[in-house]
């Protein structure tokens, strides 16, 4: 009897050992690449208990932001069977059935002194964990911004990099018919909503540029019948004329420390060159002196270099030079017969520009290390690319049915979104910097 029991336990031990050995010799799989498909997410309409929110649909704003980035695909509202507004009320298996990886739920409620609070929670449906929660207090005037902050939160928690939805853009709108036209400089939310007029003139306004701190816009105005560069504080509207020399005063761009602008000035013979102008005292530094056209200079993010357009080799191409007097310029672009209006990505590694390809002017991005150029937009007359402050998207202007329109494109070129802009002909969009956090 005893012997038999010993035998059995021995056999069991042996089998167990074999099982363990088998588990160790398991199949090993190596995953070296993935896909760029958007991440499936459910953004449930927020519960609302305030009249003070003006009927604002926070979830709809978040959905449009996230889908416009190309990184997310939102579940259709019609397919939602429940509408939880708290993470604790999310029945995970129900939402997994719809193959969602994440769910956003929230509620809008009154706060003190007529303010409105938005509470949002983000749940990872794969493991059921609540991975973020935030409470934002907004005034009726800042509710849209708060909704974009919700988009930023979700984007960052899911993708590991900051969003840039709670930012602003500036652009020029042209109304009326020649000879009676109105030029308007407009600042709007990054999705085109909440547009407001910053400056207006019957004579051309052009080339808006944001200061690095987001407080100022520089632009060119012909209001005194000749070009001049103006500086205007966005919040107060206070402005001053920076430079109005005889000839051309154009293409302002702020240095990263907001102490200087790169600008284009013409010499007495009409030749265009790149200069730097000090905001403190107006002192000028001449950077280029080539007989060709040198214009549209922008600073690299470290402030040491300038990238500008020059036709010194016969056709417009992008060149780089140190941001100093009489700098030596080196050609940067070599693909195609036309590359102009450079803008640097926030990390300084990518150069956005307008390129002529297949008979169309398109937005393209060149990797500065490898020189590889990718076309992001289709044309035919796209212009003025400008990076979002997180580098994940670009805004640009294109033409549709003979009208100027604004659009964004993801950095991989896969997702394009038209922006709402109902001020007639719109052009020269520029994406502003990240804004300080809401209180």
């Amino acid at each position: 009897m005893t012997d038999r029991r010993t035998l059995i336990s021995l056999a069991c031990a042996l089998l167990g050992a074999l099982g363990a050995a088998r588990a160790h010799a398991q199949l090993r799989i190596e995953i070296t690449s993935g896909v760029t498909d958007p991440i499936p997410i459910a953004i449930v309409p927020f519960a609302r208990s305030v009249p003070g929110d003006g009927g604002l649909d926070v979830a709809a704003i978040v959905q449009r932001d996230l889908e416009g980035s190309g990184r997310f695909r939102a579940m259709a509202r019609a397919d939602m069977i429940e509408t939880p507004s708290r993470a604790a009320d999310v029945v995970v298996p129900d939402w997994r059935t719809g193959r969602n990886d994440y769910i956003v739920v929230g509620r809008v409620a009154p706060a003190a002194a007529g303010a409105v609070q938005i509470e949002v929670e983000l749940v990872n449906l794969v493991n059921g964990q609540r991975i973020a929660g935030q409470r934002l207090v907004a005034t009726p005037g800042s509710l849209r911004e708060a909704a974009h902050r919700v988009s930023d939160l979700v984007y960052e928690k899911v993708l590991g990099v900051p969003g840039a939805f709670a930012t602003r853009i500036a652009y020029v709108a042209v109304g009326g018919q020649p000879p009676r036209q109105t030029y308007t400089l407009i600042v709007a939310d990054a999705d085109g909503e909440g547009a407001r007029t910053i400056a207006e003139s019957p004579l051309p306004l052009m080339s808006p540029a944001w200061s690095t701190d987001g407080e100022w816009l520089a632009y060119v105005s012909f209001e005194s019948r000749a070009s001049a560069i103006w500086l205007q504080q966005v919040r107060t509207g206070e402005r001053r004329r920076l430079i109005a020399r005889a000839g051309i005063n154009g293409s302002p761009a702020f240095s990263p420390d907001d102490k200087r602008l790169a600008i284009t000035l013409s010499t007495s013979s009409g030749n265009l060159d790149v200069y730097l102008i000090s905001l403190a005292d107006g002192a000028l530094t001449r950077v280029t002196s080539d007989p060709a056209i040198d214009t549209e200079a922008v600073f690299s993010p470290d402030g040491r270099s300038l990238y500008f357009t020059s036709d010194r080799a016969g056709s417009p191409q992008i060149y780089r030079a140190d941001a100093v007097e009489n700098a030596v310029a080196k050609r940067v672009t070599f693909t195609g017969s036309y590359n102009a209006r450079a803008r640097l990505s926030p990390d300084g590694k990518q150069l956005a520009m307008v390129t002529l390809a297949g008979g169309a002017y398109r937005v393209a991005v060149q990797d500065l290390a490898s020189g590889v150029v990718r076309q992001l937009s289709k044309g035919p007359l796209d212009e003025s690319p400008s990076f979002a402050p997180n580098g994940a998207m670009l805004i640009y202007a294109g033409r549709e049915r003979g009208r100027g329109v604004l659009a964004t494109v993801s950095i991989d070129g896969l997702t394009t979104q038209r922006l709402k802009a109902d001020q007639g002909e719109v052009r020269e969009p520029v994406w502003g910097p990240q804004r300080p956090k809401m209180q």
Partner: protein
């Protein structure tokens, strides 16, 4: 002879599972070259993934979430060409090349 056939079928199964998981891995921008994450995956016959446990990972929270989602969304995993080859436990290593 039998061993060779078995290993050929095993390699084929491994490729099927690899392709399925790759097609479900929505890489976040932070999943770059240099990231190595090992996941212990437990499946039941039929290929349903019942557990995915990250054993080691030098990526951020976004990378970990994306990996866990890739494995769970790849469920059910493709069956082996020969049922005798079925393995309950898999070690899946996420190691992006670029």
């Amino acid at each position: 002879m039998r061993a060779a056939r078995a290993s050929g079928a095993g390699a084929q199964w491994r490729d099927l599972i690899t392709a399925k998981i790759m097609s479900e891995w929505r890489r976040p921008p932070t999943a770059r070259a240099g990231i190595v994450c090992t996941v212990q995956v437990t499946q039941v016959p039929g290929g349903e993934v019942v557990a995915a446990r990250i054993l080691s990972c030098n990526g951020d929270a976004a990378v970990r979430q994306s990996i866990e989602a890739a494995v769970m969304n790849a469920s059910p995993l493709p069956p082996p060409p020969d049922p005798a080859l079925f393995e309950r436990n898999l070690e899946v290593v996420f190691k992006p090349h670029d």
